[in-house]
Point group: C2
Chain length 86, copies 2
């Protein structure tokens, strides 16, 4: 069971930090056209619900992982909006 | 607690189905350049670990959501590889 929990923590960390290289990629290339708005908005809605879920259970790993993911998604959406006009 | 579980189910469904519009977007535009390989690979590694986690706990919602997400990610990565040469 301890290994299973560890797996969950690593899994959550990976899916969260994965958005860091996406932010850097967008920042460097000044392009986000190939990221679908429907994906970004649907995924963000899911992350917000995960955050509410985590807060209701006061499950800190769920809260932290989803709060960080949400911030990274907001940055990506801000960059997409900014670069769209170019 | 019932509402909390429902929140979790809807959250999981949203983060999983969000990749469907991304697949359609890539398919229609024939472009995936703005999706970072580091994001796709790191996120996929996380999803694989979530899948192993779900299998170890035999938690069907975790297994199904992550299996579907992994299939969609593999499609996106296949399209990115295919369109890269254009």
């Amino acid at each position: 069971m301890r290994l299973t929990s560890l797996l969950g923590f690593i899994a959550g960390a990976l899916t969260t930090v994965s958005f860091i290289p996406q932010v850097l990629h967008a920042w460097r290339s000044k392009r986000c056209d190939d990221l679908s708005w429907a994906m970004l908005l649907t995924f963000s809605a899911g992350v917000v619900l995960w955050l509410v879920y985590g807060i209701r259970l006061w499950a800190m790993p769920v809260i932290v992982a989803n709060a960080v993911t949400l911030v990274l998604l907001l940055i990506i959406m801000a960059l997409k909006t900014r670069y769209a006009s170019r």
